[in-house]
C-alpha cells in the first residue's frame, strides 16, 4: 500500500496576467465579508414594525445590502434590530435575546422609542435600549422613513468595514 506511487496529475498553468492572488489586510477582508452578510433578528414590539416591513419588502429591499434574511433565532443572527417601544417588563427578555447572540454582533435601535424612549417618559417604558445593552447605530423617527433605515444600514456597514475583526477577542 505504501509503496504504491501517487498518480501524476498534469497541472496546466494559466496564462500570465490572470487573477491568481491578491494581498489585503485580514480586517478589511473579514469586514468586507461581514458587512454584506448581516443576518438581522427583528425584535419587534410596536408600530415601527410596519415600517420594518416596508423597508424589507420589494420597494426598498434591504436584500441589496445583504440584510434580507431575518433569523427568528438570536443564535443565528448577528444584527439585533429593536423595532419599537421596549417596556420595563420587556427589558429582561431583550437582555436575554442579546446575550444569546454569538459574537460578532451589532445592535440597531430602530425608531425613536428604542433610541431614547421617545415621548414615553413614565413608569412603563425603558428610556432607550442603550440603558441595558450597547447600541451601534441609532435611527430616529416616529417611525423612520425607509430611506433613513437604509442610511442606517449603510452607516452600520461602514462601521463594520472600518472595524477590527479579531479572530480571538476579549469575550471569546
Amino acid at each position: 500500500m505504501y509503496g504504491k506511487p501517487l498518480p501524476v496529475v498534469s497541472v496546466s498553468r494559466e496564462p500570465a496576467g490572470t487573477f491568481e492572488y491578491l494581498t489585503t489586510k485580514k480586517d478589511e477582508l473579514v469586514g468586507w465579508a461581514r458587512k454584506f452578510s448581516l443576518f438581522p433578528y427583528p425584535f419587534v414590539t410596536a408600530c415601527c414594525a410596519m415600517e420594518f416591513m416596508a423597508v424589507s419588502a420589494s420597494a426598498y429591499d434591504t436584500d441589496r445590502f445583504g440584510a434580507a434574511l431575518p433569523r427568528f433565532s438570536p443564535r443565528q443572527a448577528d444584527l439585533l434590530m429593536i423595532v419599537g417601544t421596549v417596556t420595563q417588563k420587556q427589558a429582561p427578555i431583550l437582555l436575554k435575546v442579546y446575550e444569546q447572540m454569538c459574537e460578532p454582533k451589532w445592535v440597531m435601535a430602530f425608531g425613536v422609542c428604542a433610541t431614547s424612549g421617545g415621548f414615553y417618559q413614565n413608569y412603563a417604558s425603558l428610556p432607550g435600549i442603550d440603558k441595558i445593552i450597547p447600541v451601534d447605530i441609532y435611527i430616529p423617527g416616529c417611525p423612520p422613513r425607509p430611506e433613513m433605515v437604509i442610511d442606517g444600514i449603510m452607516k452600520l456597514q461602514d462601521i463594520i468595514a472600518r472595524g477590527k475583526h479579531p479572530i480571538i477577542n476579549d469575550k471569546f
Binding site: A91, P92, Y123, I132
Partner: protein
C-alpha cells in the same frame, strides 16, 4: 336624540333602591354606595339583561374625602344600550366587592384596576399584577405617583 325606552324603567328601578341616576352623553349613570355595587349589578344583569361587563376602572380625586371613584360599564346585547355605575371609596379603605361571580371577565379587569389604582376587590382572591410586574411598588395611575419614576427590572448600564 331618540329617547331610549329602557332608561325610564331603569331610573324607576334604581331610584327605588336609593341610587341617584342621571343621563350623561346618552349613557345612563347611576351612583351607588360601595355596599350596593353587587346587588345593583345583579339587578342590572338579571332584570335588564346587561349581559356584557365592559370595564371597571377608577378615577383619582386627590382633594376629595372619598378619593377614588370606581366606574363600571355594562352593555346589554338585548337593548343595545350601555349603563355606567359609579361608587366612591376612601383612600384608607379602597374596598369594593368583586363582580367575578356575575361576570367571568371581571377577574382580569379587576386585576388591572388593582394594579393601576390599588382598589381592593373583596372576594377576588387573584389580584396578582397583570400589566405590572412582581416587585413594582405603588400604583402608577394614582395622582401622587411621580410621573417619571421608573422601577427597572434590569440594572441600567449608566
Amino acid at each position: 336624540m331618540v329617547p331610549i325606552p329602557i332608561f325610564d324603567a331603569l331610573h324607576t328601578a334604581l331610584s327605588a333602591k336609593g341610587a341617584n341616576t342621571t343621563v350623561s352623553h346618552g349613557v345612563l349613570v347611576c351612583d351607588v354606595e360601595p355596599a350596593q355595587v353587587f346587588t345593583t349589578a345583579t339587578h342590572l344583569k338579571s332584570a335588564f339583561a346587561f349581559d356584557v361587563f365592559l370595564d371597571v376602572t377608577a378615577v383619582d380625586w386627590p382633594d376629595h374625602a372619598l378619593r377614588f371613584e370606581v366606574v363600571y360599564h355594562f352593555y346589554s346585547t338585548t337593548h343595545k344600550v350601555r349603563v355606567r355605575m359609579k361608587t366612591r371609596v376612601a383612600d384608607a379603605t379602597p374596598h369594593v366587592p368583586t363582580l367575578r361571580p356575575l361576570y367571568g371577565s371581571a377577574g382580569y379587569m379587576e386585576r388591572e384596576c388593582h394594579d393601576m389604582y390599588g382598589i381592593i376587590f373583596d372576594g377576588n382572591d387573584d389580584l396578582r399584577p397583570i400589566l405590572l410586574y412582581e416587585g413594582f411598588h405603588g400604583h402608577p395611575l394614582r395622582k401622587d405617583y411621580p410621573k417619571q419614576l421608573e422601577q427597572p427590572l434590569v440594572r441600567y448600564r449608566f
